[in-house]
């Protein structure tokens, strides 16, 4: 027992050291920074004085319409993106699940490939495809009578959702496909014997059986969406698009620190965002935990 405790201590120490150095300390520093503001006097050319301002940075962030609008954008993004992602990935997974074995491998790889492209590169490529005078896509659309400005205020959200879908569809498809493959084949055979067609099997047997992965992917995507940063930043910096520098809460923090030199405000915004993420994660784990307990109970009674 003692030897085991020692082993555990020795083996876990490096983890906790690193965890402290790269997680706990920076978070603590951010919280610390968020309590201070740089104040100036006169015309402001006499340098700055760091003043403890308590929660002022938090009220400033929460009182800033741009910051609140960032959460609104995230909400819109989730409502737009997640249904498309789930439906698309599930649809593709079902297709793969029922396709020929040879085509299966090819499509699995082909669909997964975009996920291997780093987000920043994907965003740069898409910016090119969105730019009116350069893009063959926009030109083709215009030739077909569809005029759509990807950089306009109405176009900004669809533009970002499209990039995200391109990046994540294949990845989540693989998750659903794995879940579908795990379904007991005898269940499917039984359904076939009972006279169910492919559609009926997909909707009444397969989808209900992968509901858990659907919920998991959905909830993880919500939490991941809070981090939305790279793609909109590229659209903000490289173009004159309607994606503002404070489009998402993450971008708000970035702009506060690096364009406005207000590290206190940036830290406060980051802490608020982290709190939101923590709350959501907590809710998610509670929800999924309860669901698991629920299904276990059901299985026992069955």
């Amino acid at each position: 027992m003692k030897a085991r405790t020692r082993a555990a201590t020795i083996l876990l120490t490096p983890f906790f050291l690193l965890f402290t150095a790269v997680m706990v300390v920076p978070i603590g520093y951010a919280v610390w920074l968020s309590l201070f503001t740089e104040k100036q006097s006169g015309l402001g050319f006499g340098g700055t004085e760091t003043v403890f301002t308590g929660l002022d940075n938090y009220t400033a962030a929460l009182g800033d319409r741009a910051f609140r609008e960032g959460f609104g954008v995230l909400l819109g993004y989730c409502l737009f993106y997640i249904p498309l992602l789930l439906a698309g990935a599930l649809g593709l997974a079902l297709l793969l699940d029922s396709a020929l074995a040879r085509a299966r491998r090819f499509f699995q790889l082909a669909l997964f490939l975009p996920h291997a492209v780093p987000g920043i590169i994907a965003a740069l490529i898409w910016v090119y495809l969105y730019t009116p005078q350069l893009s063959p896509v926009v030109q083709a659309m215009e030739a077909g009578g569809i005029g759509f400005d990807f950089f306009s205020p109405e176009g900004a959200l669809p533009s970002i959702v499209n990039i995200a879908l391109w990046e994540w569809l294949g990845y989540n498809m693989v998750i659903f496909y794995a879940a579908l493959q795990a379904i007991d084949r005898s269940v499917l055979e039984a359904a076939t014997v009972d006279g169910a067609g492919a559609w009926r099997i997909a909707f009444s047997v397969k989808i209900p059986l992968v509901k858990a992965s659907l919920a998991m992917v959905g909830l993880f995507t919500v939490i991941g969406s809070l981090q939305l940063f790279t793609e909109p930043l590229i659209l903000n910096k490289g173009t004159g698009s309607a994606v503002t520098s404070t489009w998402t809460p993450n971008m708000y923090a970035y702009t506060a620190a690096f364009d406005r030199n207000d590290y206190g405000l940036a830290a406060a915004a980051s802490v608020l965002l982290a709190l939101t993420a923590a709350l959501l994660s907590f809710a998610v784990t509670r929800l999924t935990g309860r669901r698991k307990a629920g299904t276990a109970r059901k299985e026992r009674t069955a």
């Binding site: 876990l12 490096p14 100036q40 006097s41 006499g46 350069l134 406005r260």
Partner: protein, 438 residues
């Protein structure tokens, strides 16, 4: 049991990787103290065209000071963020490039040191007074001005001739010319509105006589509702509404592409633009010409668009060496020649005595041998001395840029963007504890 062990081994593997990464990142960056007799080494961060050539020339001709040049992205493209972070982290270079518009922000955040002792009154007298004015804040000297950036209008003289368009000297004539260009070729436009770059617009307001930031009795007076700004705003909104100019991000592939295929036949820029065009469009050699900026009353008038100065960061212990190098770049013949001769820079030196040197060093054959420096000279003299930059340029310009991006037919316009920039500026100054009116 097996499960917990496999998890532990995963933790170990992860830890080992993380440690390797950490050690790889560590080390470097420390400056050992300079011993006597050995040259002082200073680090310089910049992005202006020809900087590398200037540093090489300096190092070749000096034994007491060695300059280590590190190229950073241009200011608003991330360079300023890099400088601020380095200052904050205490590992900033000795000398940094800062544009006039951002200098007050760096001064007010305490990132720089006063160089009045090294860069004296006599030194400053050699430079264009407007640039000295822009680097003197709160009665102290904060930077060595390098170039002035008088506005200029670059145009395709072959296409202007083909479309029978006169080079406009007033903004009224410019609009007429814009209409003619559009009529001659439905796809072509005379110039571009840059929604990503408020400074181009601000230079227009500056030229018209606006004065957005005014310091009086320890109070900032913010005024963007003056007649000049209103006039410029309405004018550009009119051009946009009538579709007489393109709306593209500056220096974007989109903009460059339209220059390449002749659908943009003019560029409202500044002196340094001559080098940029030459470098970006080498195949259009001989097709471009430069004209003075159109003005409201036909008399020469100019704002300033960009323009670089060199400042010493607050923790630098090699201030004297840094200022020596900065002055060499700005005020000596060798320094200016080295930069211009690189072929990529058409900078207009703030030092009056060096303009003939710059003119000689710049190969103007791209502009059909036009005496572009004489034009810059006249334009430089007409730079309105009233404009000053406030200490919140980052906030002001980011806000305006955000709102420029939202400009849409029938939707928000330039005036809304300027108003938003104004409000954000006032709020930011107030938050910092400064007195502000406006």
């Amino acid at each position: 049991m097996t499960r917990s062990w496999s998890r532990t081994s995963r933790v170990i593997a992860g830890t080992a990787t993380a440690l390797a990464v950490l050690t790889a990142c560590g080390g470097g960056g420390d400056d050992t103290a300079n011993k006597p007799n050995e040259p002082v080494t200073i680090t310089f961060w910049g992005w202006a065209k020809g900087s590398k050539d200037v540093v090489d020339a300096f190092n070749a001709s000096h034994t007491d000071i060695r300059v280590k040049f590190e190229e950073i992205p241009s200011g608003t493209a991330g360079g300023y963020a890099k400088i601020s972070n380095a200052v904050k982290a205490g590992n900033a270079p000795d000398l940094v490039s800062i544009e006039y518009s951002s200098l007050p922000e760096f001064v007010s955040s305490g990132a720089l040191q006063d160089i009045g002792g090294e860069f004296t009154e006599a030194d400053r007298a050699k430079l264009l007074p407007q640039t000295v004015e822009l680097t003197t804040l709160g009665g102290k000297t904060w930077a060595v001005p390098f170039d002035a950036a008088p506005q200029a209008f670059f145009y395709r003289k072959d296409l202007f001739a083909k479309y029978k368009v006169e080079v406009p000297t007033t903004w009224d004539a410019f609009r007429k010319a814009a209409e003619q260009v559009k009529k001659a070729d439905a796809k072509a436009r005379i110039a571009t509105f840059f929604p990503d770059d408020p400074t181009t617009f601000e230079a227009m307001a500056w030229q018209a006589g606006a004065q957005w930031f005014k310091a009086e009795n320890d109070t900032w007076k913010i005024d963007t509702t003056d007649a000049a700004t209103t006039k410029v705003t309405a004018y550009w909104q009119g051009l946009l509404d009538a579709g007489l100019v393109h709306k593209n991000a500056s220096f974007s592939p989109e903009w460059t592409g339209s220059l390449k295929n002749g659908t943009t036949i003019g560029y409202l820029g500044a002196s340094w633009g001559a080098g940029v065009l030459k470098g970006t469009l080498p195949e259009q050699d001989g097709k471009w010409a430069v004209a003075p900026m159109p003005s409201w009353d036909g008399k020469p008038a100019s704002g300033m668009l960009g323009g670089t100065s060199f400042a010493v960061t607050k923790d630098s212990k090699r201030k004297a060496a840094a200022v020596t190098f900065a002055e060499w770049m700005s005020t000596t013949e060798d320094g200016v020649k080295a930069r211009i001769a690189s072929g990529t820079s058409s900078a207009f030196p703030a030092a009056a005595a060096l303009r003939p040197v710059a003119k000689k060093a710049f190969d103007a054959s791209y502009y059909g041998g036009q005496d572009i420096y004489a034009l810059f000279e006249a334009s430089g003299a007409s730079i309105s001395p009233n404009w000053a930059w406030g200490p919140t340029t980052g906030t002001t310009n980011t806000t305006i840029k955000d709102h420029f991006g939202k400009i849409a037919q029938g939707g928000p316009g330039i005036a809304d963007a300027v108003k938003a920039g104004h409000d954000a500026t006032v709020a930011e100054l107030t938050k910092r504890g400064l007195k502000v009116e406006g």
